[in-house]
């Protein structure tokens, strides 16, 4: 933690970065995101198992981008990022939403985070996104900090649930998801929390014609959740922020994870892993499978 504060202070003093997106402590088992712009505030930064937020979501926000614009020049933005957050940053760079040279990535070694604030860190309280996680070290970074520790190994409940759903009949599945989507109140917190939902104008906000009904009834809810999941297929890096933000506890990771598994099976592609490869849905291969088509 000390090295993080020292590094952040240096960056701000040397004017290498305009601001650092990081975590500050609220109480010992709760943190919140913060934008640090003054060197003396760098001592407030923390990193622990309670740093749940994916800070990459702020990188595309106009208000944050404006901080980096000083005296007509664009300065770097620093970001304290877990390895999974770095996947989001990579995906944003792949999709031309960011430039690598505009971001200073302070990569943190990570051994998992808790499900929710206030919990003691252990195998039982490990966030479900951390269970299948294989990247405990930052892939792309400007500096790596933090100690390497062993992640508790627990069984993958999300994958087990997906496999259970796949065994259901079509009617049962439709009923299951209809009931889950029925809870939706169309608050769009899932959209706001997602680093990859950066569209200036979302399709659900378009009214002429209105493709997705905006009132929270089962038909409109179904369309919205299908479209949200589809627009993130092959892109979602699985940070789980949508599900954590959902006030109605809709199991969105069941959808996101399923589409990620599909991308892996059909195209051997995992989102947000390489700056050199093009995005999956933004590119094509003439040799792609033609099985689906008569």
């Amino acid at each position: 933690m000390e090295e993080l504060r020292k590094h952040a202070k240096e960056l701000l003093e040397n004017k290498t970065v305009a601001a650092i997106l990081g975590y500050v402590e609220v109480d010992p088992k709760r943190t919140r995101p913060a934008v640090i712009t003054k060197p003396e505030d760098a001592s407030k930064l923390v990193f622990n198992e309670y740093c749940l937020n994916n800070l990459a979501v702020y990188l595309t926000k106009a208000r944050i981008k404006n901080i980096a614009k000083q005296n007509g020049a664009v300065m770097k933005l620093g970001i304290v990022a877990k390895p999974c957050d770095i996947h989001s940053v990579i995906a944003l760079i792949q999709e031309s939403q960011l430039k690598r040279e505009d971001i200073h990535i302070i990569g943190m070694n990570c051994h998992g985070v808790v499900k929710d604030f206030g919990m003691e860190f252990s195998g039982e309280t490990l966030a479900s996104k951390c269970v299948p996680c294989e990247s405990h070290k930052p892939l792309y970074h400007d500096i790596v900090l933090g100690e390497e520790k062993q992640t508790p190994s627990v069984s993958d409940e999300v994958l087990a649930k997906i496999q259970a759903i796949e065994k259901m009949t079509y009617e049962e599945r439709f009923e299951y998801f209809k009931n889950e989507f029925d809870k939706c109140i169309k608050c769009y917190a899932c959209r706001a929390a997602c680093p990859l939902c950066y569209c200036q104008r979302c399709i659900t906000d378009k009214t002429i014609p209105r493709w997705i009904e905006s009132s929270p009834h089962s038909r409109g809810n179904f369309s919205w959740n299908v479209v949200r999941a589809f627009h993130l297929s092959g892109r979602c890096i699985g940070c789980g922020e949508c599900e954590r933000a959902c006030p109605m506890d809709i199991p969105l990771s069941l959808l996101n994870r399923k589409m990620a598994e599909t991308a892996k099976e059909a195209y051997a592609y995992v989102s947000g892993r390489s700056l050199e490869t093009p995005t999956l849905v933004g590119s094509y291969d003439v040799k792609d499978s033609d099985e689906l088509f008569m």
Binding site: E171, R173, V226, G234
Partner: protein, 168 residues
């Protein structure tokens, strides 16, 4: 009852350059195919947004066919390649959510394949007939009507208001 005389409603999204012309050839060649299918012509299979499919299901479609040019034959060179990746995901997603894979089918039909168009349409119609009416979305529609009895269930913004001469 209604069930006995039930005929499926099939919507086909077809591309202007290949499948639509193929369907035209089927017509001019006097080939017969089921009348359940309603064609919607779009410029390219790559231009069919999955929300079109959802909207069609909302309006009571029992089955949907999406058809375009064969790979390497796209009028826009790569439209169907892009479509192919996207449909793979969308098809998998709908299947996972409990919409039978046979309700949404895909094909490549070229301008010279009038016979293939007839075969494809017949297959889709037979598949959907075997499955029966699409109950899932009917349920969603009924719930919508009970919740909002004043609304006809049709989005006003979707109707072309020809009388008033308003553009949509």
């Amino acid at each position: 009852m209604k069930e006995q005389n039930w005929e499926p409603k099939i919507i086909a999204f077809v591309c202007n350059w290949c499948t639509y012309t193929g369907a035209d050839l089927a017509g001019t060649s006097r080939l017969k195919y089921p009348t359940n299918v309603k064609l919607i012509r779009v410029m390219c299979s790559g231009g069919i947004d999955p929300v079109f499919i959802l909207k069609a299901f909302e309006r009571g479609a029992d089955g949907i066919l999406v058809s375009g040019c064969h790979p390497n034959d796209c009028h826009y060179n790569a439209g169907n390649f892009h479509a192919r990746r996207r449909w793979t995901f969308f098809h998998e997603l709908l299947d996972y959510l409990g919409i039978d894979k046979n309700r949404l089918q895909f094909s490549w039909v070229s301008a010279s394949e009038g016979k293939k168009f007839v075969d494809v349409v017949s297959k889709v119609v037979n598949d959907v007939k075997a499955m029966g009416p699409f109950k899932g979305y009917e349920e969603l529609n009924n719930e919508f009507m009970t919740e909002f009895p004043d609304v006809s269930g049709v989005d006003e913004s979707m109707i072309l208001k020809e009388k008033e001469g308003e553009a949509v």
